[in-house]
């Protein structure tokens, strides 16, 4: 089953690599946001720049996964190839795992410019240990957003998936405190954020790269979101029968 998951991942990556503009798109926006907002406004303050980079990484982890899976999966489901793959003797597991592996690879590639910009154009700084912890954290916080994307992708048609992903991502970013530095959001956002997937994820990232404390109720909430979204994603996959009208 693991080798089958690798096969699914490999073919996803081959397909993406043959249309490189898709890769360019997901790498471009986080990098552009870094250049437009982080570098000019907080670039010269090491503490703020580091936290802002962590927020930007969280933001792009959320948006790439939400769109990559939410829109990508619903697009795939509309292709006549998808029902064929469902007749092959494999269940949801390897396909899910393969998609997730391919998605993580693409996500890390698209984060590379963000890290390079932070390192060379701002005062942001981390120790090697903190960098490795942050890298591991990035993979962990990607999971709930991957599952959220899969839940959207498998439960609705393409046009609805695009809209829902767009509707979700801005409020999640704002209410999760990604638009502001740690402790600087409006009061109700500060109260709510730790319990949203975005806020929980950002707090883990801040804790990884600065002396921001780990907050266990926030971590518990993030774990709860992950389990719930995983359950919804699996439920949506099982109930999915491809296109409605054929």
């Amino acid at each position: 089953m693991t080798s089958l998951a690798m096969t699914h991942a490999r073919f996803q990556l081959i397909e993406t690599a043959r249309i490189p503009i898709a890769l360019f798109g997901s790498a471009f926006f986080p990098a552009a946001a870094m250049l437009a907002f982080v570098v000019p406004f907080v670039g010269s303050n090491a503490e703020y720049a580091t936290a802002a980079t962590a927020s930007m990484v969280t933001f792009s982890v959320m948006s790439t996964n939400l769109f990559q899976y939410g829109v990508g999966v619903s697009e795939d489901r509309a292709q006549p190839w998808d029902p064929y793959v469902r007749t092959l003797p494999a269940g949801a597991g390897p396909r899910f795992a393969g998609r997730v592996m391919a998605g993580l690879t693409l996500m890390l590639v698209s984060l590379l410019p963000v890290i390079l910009i932070a390192a060379f154009l701002t005062e942001a700084t981390v120790t090697m240990t903190a960098f490795l912890v942050a890298l591991a954290t990035t993979v962990v916080i990607a999971i709930p957003f991957i599952l959220m994307g899969l839940a959207i992708g498998y439960s609705m048609p393409q046009k609805a998936a695009v809209v829902v992903a767009q509707l979700l991502f801005f409020p999640l970013a704002f209410l999760g405190g990604l638009m502001t530095g740690p402790g600087m959001a409006p009061g109700f956002v500060e109260d709510l954020a730790p319990y949203l997937p975005t806020g929980g994820a950002a707090r883990l990232m801040w804790a990884a790269v600065s002396d921001f404390p780990y907050d266990f109720s926030s971590i518990a909430a993030l774990a709860g979101w992950t389990i719930t979204l995983g359950w919804v994603a699996v439920w949506a996959y099982r109930r999915d029968e491809g296109r409605r009208f054929s």
Binding site: F11, W81, P83, L88, P89, A90, G91, R244
Partner: protein, 294 residues
């Protein structure tokens, strides 16, 4: 031994009834054709048997179990729609991808050779011609050394040579004991391969018989003639439609009808005999068999 079976299966999409109480069985080694016009319920039946969809009610069984469970699909082969091959992947890559799902797949070289695809192995599927895509699609059904394959219109639209080549491939699979379910809305394609034909229309099994018997059932001709009088009572007339003084008569035996018209000295003009489409033939069968159908 029965490899595939539905028992009183009904499938709805919203308030549309796609299959209505269908019971159907395929024995090991059979070569069965599923014949019906578009929208008759063929695809739905195949989708249920291959585990893509679940029935609204009734029971579906494939290779001894529920086709929605992956382990019951280990010896199943299905053709994808040739329009759906992943455009950016090469032919060889698509074969590798499908092979990875089976315990004991056919070696790639052997499969490509058997379906005449060896020269196409490096080509991206998006750049293949319609006929080449069709050959790739049919080949994919055989990757996993299946015991039963479902082929959807495998040779429609191919040139004569490519068609014969695929027919030979399907026949040799059958001769080695493989089971084939072929769907088509062309009787010709099914006649060339199948011994048994299941005719599906309006979500029901209308006939389940030998090719010869079904040919008689669906080989309806339309005889058109100009006649101002009424048509005398003649045997073998399925339906009569009047358009001004032009009459359109549907009949399973056009030769006999014409002989009868002459024998009765009917003063017709402008005689025209045409084979009907399967859709038209089905209208007559459906009217005969399900008089109360909505």
């Amino acid at each position: 031994m029965i490899l595939a079976r539905t028992e009183d299966v009904t499938r709805r999409y919203g308030d549309k009834l796609a299959l209505d109480g269908v019971s159907f069985e395929v024995e090991a080694g059979e070569l069965v054709g599923l014949l019906g016009p578009n929208g008759a319920g063929k695809s739905t039946l195949v989708n249920l048997l291959t585990g893509i969809r679940r029935p609204t009610s009734g029971r579906v069984e494939l290779l001894g179990g529920d086709p929605r469970r992956p382990e019951n699909r280990r010896h199943l082969g299905v053709t994808p729609q040739e329009t759906g091959l992943p455009a950016s992947l090469r032919v060889g890559e698509v074969v590798d991808f499908v092979s990875a799902h089976y315990d004991d797949p056919l070696p790639k070289g052997e499969l490509l050779d058997r379906f005449g695809l060896t020269d196409l192995v490096r080509r991206q599927t998006g750049g293949l011609s319609g006929g080449e895509k069709r050959r790739v699609a049919v080949a994919l059904a055989f990757v996993g050394r299946p015991r039963i394959v479902f082929l959807d219109e495998p040779t429609t639209g191919l040139d004569v040579q490519a068609r014969r080549f695929l027919w030979d491939g399907i026949r040799s699979f059958s001769a080695e004991g493989g089971t084939v379910v072929l769907t088509s809305h062309y009787l010709e394609e099914i006649e060339a391969l199948a011994r048994r034909v299941v005719v599906i229309g309006g979500g029901r099994v209308l006939a389940d018989d030998t090719v010869d018997a079904v040919r008689g059932l669906v080989a309806v001709h339309r005889v058109s003639l100009t006649l101002s009088d009424a048509l005398p009572e003649l045997a073998g007339v399925a339906s009569v439609e009047r358009d001004g003084d032009r009459l359109h008569v549907l009949t399973p035996d056009a030769d006999r009808l014409v002989r009868d018209l002459v024998a009765h000295e009917v003063p017709f003009r402008g005689l025209e005999v045409r084979p009907t489409s399967l859709e038209e033939a089905f209208l007559t069968i459906t009217e005969d068999r399900t008089p109360a159908a909505a």
